[in-house]
């Protein structure tokens, strides 16, 4: 398991952050996904070989839930 950290942009309400976090928690190949509204960070853990696949799933859910939100690796 490796830990990945992303900057999350255009996420403008705390409740939306919680809702998005809940939606993302359903992705099976990642663990401990967390969105911090205060620091505007998205962190999650997954196996290194699954990273691209995981990101694809994350992006897909974000697009559905909060279309304005973008993420960027730090």
């Amino acid at each position: 398991m490796s830990k990945y950290k992303f900057k999350i942009k255009n996420l403008d309400c705390a409740n939306c952050a919680n809702a998005l976090e809940r939606a993302l928690q359903k992705i099976d190949i990642i663990e401990n996904i967390s969105i911090s509204f205060m620091t505007q960070k998205l962190t999650f853990e997954c196996l290194e070989e699954n990273k691209e696949q995981a990101l694809e799933k994350i992006r897909k859910i974000i697009k559905k839930e909060e279309p304005d939100v973008t993420i960027e690796e730090v």
Binding site: K5, C13, N15, N18, R22, F37, M38, K64
Partner: protein
């Protein structure tokens, strides 16, 4: 304020201006007034309406844009123009204020943690190059000018200066630094140029580790945060369903009532149904609390630990290095027939060739250079001490057994610590007491912990019983367990964990060298002065950057204050919202009250949360 907020503000002012005009000037035809309201509504709320439409297409209801749009358009439909406009206007005021507050607290917390160095001046091919700290390798020499931040951990090879460590430790007194001293990244060089040999890469340097800790802290959520996000999850749908029922059922059952009257009440429900105020004020409080702690040099690894800290019942401390300084020092000299200084001189000379911690502290206390030619016939008597000829005199320095072996009559010392008996020319000449000193800060710690309702303070140590009990008595601790092996500490902590109340928490404070298992076992593990020790920083939940245990008590104080504010906000917001819901269901509260319950509550809760940043 950033440009996005500025735009928002301009829209609000413009819209407010139009609303005021249409209140002040009564046109002959009411339609003109209404058109003004609609224009001001669109100026301030067009983006919300657009987002709402987009969400409906996606099948996402219960989102706040949708709720606000329904509430306001509904109000227009029943010809409540001023209300419709005001709801949207104040909603946007609330949003703007919320953005501003969040932005402000983010900035003030990151200003507290403004320790990230932007560049390093590195010597390469006899020239100084300015590079990203990331590109500097171990072993390279970097140059730090006065006023600059030290970019990487290293050892000073040239120069001496004063370092400002405040950003790391909260300590305002500068630290003096000489050649061969270790320096940590993130400190600011105050006085003069330093040349430093890099010992850790940037990613492994103190500054990176600290920033990492602080940035990750808010991803470990507290119970209160989880509670509130769960609450929000059910609250909104329930209120929306109630609103729907309120609009539909009473007009069907009650005779002689208008549909628009009940719709008005239902719309008020929708205005109150947004949970955002509550949801933002809680993480904001924790974020502020973690920020306030880092200001005093305490790194808390998660909101959950900050929350748990407020329920601290038992504090378990390691002794050496935590409550005591961990350095053996000559504390007292009792000379017989010689001056104190002479006795110390003979003892130091005799012990000169030993590397034992005892002889090192003797030499430190003596402080002068030792003329090695004066010391002859050195004989180390294992487990007892040393026999040597110093300046023509036969000196014996060691424990009681040494005195007995040479049949020297001596008076046994009752003092606590390590006692060196000295005999000169076969005559007992006095004792030197060497012991570890209790930190000044330890006294303060005990008092502050008790002030913060900690029930028991317990000391665990591997040290000898009499020494440990003396320290425990001196500090007025509740319990003391001594002569423990590292595994004993673990089993004992397990036992102590069962002694607290179900809600209470056990905090372990250690200096981290052998304490990793206990740090992990305790509810909250605190590693002290652990900037260098990776294992401890890894295992601990809270890291104190200085060697002051009292910072734990200060953190408990911050935690309690944070929790008080969190509870105030939860109770205040829920009470007002539920109250307004009930009142508007009976037609007592107007939509204006509903706007207050939404925006007013969020503004007040945020202001309340921002108080945490002011904790001294």
């Amino acid at each position: 304020m950033n440009s996005k907020m500025n735009k928002q503000l301009i829209r609000i002012i413009l819209s407010l201006f139009l609303v005021i005009i249409s209140f002040l000037i009564k046109f002959d035809n009411q339609i003109y007034n209404n058109v003004l309201f609609i224009i001001s509504y669109l100026i301030v709320g067009y983006d919300i309406v657009l987002k709402a439409i987009r969400n409906i297409i996606k099948g996402k209801v219960f989102d706040e844009n949708f709720l606000m749009t329904i509430a306001t358009i509904g109000a227009f439909c029943i010809k409540e123009f001023p209300e419709a406009c005001a709801v949207m206007l104040f909603y946007q005021v609330g949003e703007l204020f919320q953005d501003y507050a969040v932005d402000k607290s983010r900035k003030s917390v990151s200003a507290l943690m403004d320790i990230r160095p932007d560049y390093a001046n590195v010597y390469r091919d006899d020239e100084i190059e300015r590079v990203d700290p990331d590109e500097v390798n171990i072993g390279e020499i970097i140059l730090v000018k006065p006023g600059e931040k030290i970019p990487l951990d290293g050892i000073v090879v040239e120069g001496k200066s004063m370092l400002n460590t405040q950003a790391l430790t909260g300590e305002s007194v500068p630290r003096s630094i000489n050649v061969n001293d270790e320096v940590l990244s993130g400190c600011i060089n105050n006085d003069s140029i330093l040349k430093i040999r890099v010992t850790r890469e940037f990613g492994e340097s103190t500054v990176s580790k600290i920033l990492d800790l602080v940035e990750n802290a808010s991803s470990r959520k507290s119970k209160s945060e989880n509670f509130i996000s769960k609450f929000a999850r059910y609250y909104t749908p329930i209120v929306v369903i109630l609103a729907f029922l309120l609009a539909v059922i009473p007009p069907l059952i009650i005779k002689e009532t208008s549909f628009s009257e009940w719709l008005y009440r239902a719309l008020s429900f929708l205005v109150v149904s947004c949970p955002c105020a509550l949801v933002i004020s809680i993480p904001l409080s924790f974020f502020g609390g973690i920020g306030a702690a880092s200001k005093i040099g305490v790194l808390i690894k998660g909101s959950n630990y900050l929350e748990a800290l407020s329920d601290t019942e038992i504090v378990v401390c390691d002794k050496t290095g935590t409550l005591t300084e961990g350095i053996f020092k000559v504390q007292e000299i009792d000379a017989i027939g010689y001056s104190d200084n002479e006795l110390l001189k003979y003892a130091s000379y005799a012990e000169n060739f030993s590397n034992h911690p005892i002889s090192i502290s003797l030499k430190q206390a003596y402080g002068k250079d030792i003329n090695e030619k004066l010391v002859t016939k050195i004989e180390e008597i294992s487990g007892k001490g040393i026999k040597a000829k110093v300046d023509g005199k036969n000196v014996l320095a060691g424990n009681e057994k040494l005195m007995r072996e040479y049949n020297i009559k001596f008076t046994k010392s009752e003092k606590v610590g390590t006692i060196i008996y000295v005999a000169i020319d076969n005559k007992f000449s006095g004792t030197i007491l060497i012991s570890d000193k209790i930190k000044e800060d330890a006294y303060k710690t005990v008092k502050l912990l008790k002030d913060n309702n900690v029930k028991k303070i317990i000391m665990l140590t591997g040290d000898r019983k009499n020494i440990s009990e003396d320290v425990a008595k001196e500090l007025n601790l509740d319990e003391c367990y001594s002569e423990l092996l590292p595994t004993d500490k673990v089993t004992l902590t397990e036992k102590l964990m069962t002694q607290k109340s179900p809600k209470g928490k056990l905090v372990f404070i250690g200096d981290g060298i052998n304490d990793a298992p206990v740090l992990a076992l305790a509810d909250i593990g605190v590693a002290m002065g652990a900037l260098g020790s990776d294992a401890a920083v890894e295992a601990a939940d809270i890291v104190i950057m200085t060697d002051e245990p009292s910072k734990v008590a200060n953190s408990i104080k911050i935690s309690k204050k944070t929790m008080r504010i969190v509870k105030q906000n939860i109770i205040f917001a829920i009470t007002v919202k539920v109250g307004v819901l009930i009142l508007s269901a009976f037609g007592i509260a107007t939509m204006w009250a509903a706007v207050f319950a939404d925006v007013g509550v969020s503004v007040l809760a945020i202001i309340n949360a921002l108080r945490i940043l002011k904790i001294k």
